[in-house]
Symmetry: C2
């Protein structure tokens, strides 16, 4: 088993990679995600693209561990998708259907969970087997790795920490319909929400009153010492640290890895989150180390390949 | 491997069991826990008791999978105790020290986690491999089982959900030093705290004003329709459901098993916790089933034996 394919299905493109069993990416490429007609073309397109790559590289099927797939939806331990709204998918066995098409072993998981596995294998969590990864993007994605394996959850909702309840009395609804979810505060979108609240409650000037309010601009302004931006960043860190403290008290992970767009502001994030993390976490977990994700967009194909390399 | 020993170390007695590999308890007995002198006698006592039982039953070491041990403290994946205050223990390898004495394979875990494994194997969680157990006693103990194995955590604090932060602004401190921990509300002690607050805030009569305020009396009175007891039970259920919702959003378990003294009030507990559980949990986990623990005091020796039967 010298090779494995990793596939990361996004809403507009599918990223594919051919990896060695050690995790070196020999080739990576993309195909469009055809979401029309309930997404019926997505798997046949992936299978055709992989078979074409096998022919192009003159590979022997016996040298290929299989095809790992991350999909943006709920995927359980058996490789059954429960729902993937952005792809038009309802419930079906991704593992079995793709296997029938590509004639190779298939494993499947939720994209955030699969990216976490990638970071655990080759990125910010390497050297560890028990890890929590949190992706701070438009939403907050989570991935829990226990003993080197993804915690998928019985209905594929394992690691959905973005929808863990964090704040009582929130009036705005989360995209999930609940109120006060972790991702309402700790996502890039959440940073903007906090910014709007801080700016509305103050009449002080701020560079944020003269530019687009985005997570990047908020943290850049905070680094430059803008007073209101610092307050926003402090609030952001409070919620992020508190949410991670709740997770850590359940899992006591070896490391917590932060990824996604907001994590690009770097180690500043650790300083922002640590006061509330240490305030709220169980004492036995107080020294949990933090790390930044390292693989960027490649985390998905790495983690996906890992699923079939170490099934 | 026809047999295994399960050992459950408590603050006053050590429970021991001889089990078949299918989990039938052939014999069970107790010895005192000698906590004096930093607990140096505890492991030699256990080893001697097991060797005596092997001689008594005329067993062959080759037929014994080993000795599993649950201890009241933080125990990591490698069988290293980080601390067990009630036994006088600091940090040492329980697994290696007991192995040197008893000459059999040894596995060790935290007692609440080990009891959870027992319930997953033979009790309220049987048939499942991914389970959250919560023990509602003097405190709130938790145990997380993923893929049939305990999540010990890197410093042995895995499943310490009793110290997950739940309520902001709590003035009373938890035993751990934090404020607003799950166990301050959802333990038997927590039920009494809630009762005192409800009784103090009302001038209505209640049977609880004329009897000892205990979790049992509270739930008994609620079952009898006592108005203030019903209010206390409702509040208790609110906090219990909310805390379990946070855990379920991280783990998406197949089942949540409730054990410990408070769980003796039975399925009433499910009715009390479900409204807040469903309010706060991630939608994908809303249908998480609940079950009651079934093994009582035997959960510890069962789970301990399971650790060496399926290491």
């Amino acid at each position: 088993m010298r090779y494995a394919f990793g596939v990361d299905i996004g809403g507009t493109t599918v990223k594919l990679g051919l990896l060695t069993q050690d995790g070196n990416i020999l080739d990576s490429w993309e195909i469009p995600t055809r979401t029309e007609d309930g997404g019926v073309n997505i798997l046949p397109d992936i299978a055709a693209s992989i078979r074409a790559k096998i022919a192009e590289k003159n590979l022997n099927d016996n040298d290929i561990a299989g095809v790992g797939v991350g999909a943006p939806g709920a995927v359980d331990d058996k490789g059954v998708v429960h729902q993937a709204v952005n792809l038009g998918w309802g419930r079906f066995s991704l593992k079995e259907e793709l296997h029938a098409m590509v004639k190779l072993p298939v494993m499947a998981g939720n994209d955030a969970n699969v990216a976490a596995l990638g970071e655990c294998w080759k990125g910010g969590g390497r050297g560890h087997k028990n890890m929590l990864m949190v992706t701070l993007g438009t939403g907050v994605g989570g991935g829990v790795i226990v003993n080197g394996k993804i915690v998928n959850g019985v209905t594929g909702s394992g690691g959905e920490i973005g929808h863990m309840h964090l704040v009582d009395g929130e009036e705005e609804a989360c995209g999930c319909g609940n109120h006060g979810c972790f991702e309402q505060y700790a996502s890039a979108t959440g940073a903007v929400l906090l910014a709007n609240r801080v700016l509305a409650a103050s009449d002080k000037d701020s560079v944020l009153r003269h530019t687009e309010i985005s997570a990047k601009n908020i943290f850049d302004a905070a680094k430059d010492g803008d007073e209101l931006a610092c307050e926003i960043a402090k609030q952001y860190g409070y919620y992020l640290g508190k949410g991670l403290a709740l997770c850590a008290s359940v899992l006591n992970p070896e490391v917590i890895v932060l990824g996604g767009g907001v994590s690009k502001c770097g180690s500043m994030l650790f300083d922002l989150l640590k006061p509330s993390f240490e305030e709220f976490v169980f004492k036995g977990c107080k020294d949990t180390p933090f790390a930044l994700a390292e693989l960027g967009n490649e985390a998905g194909i790495c983690g996906a390949a890992r699923m079939v390399i170490d099934p």
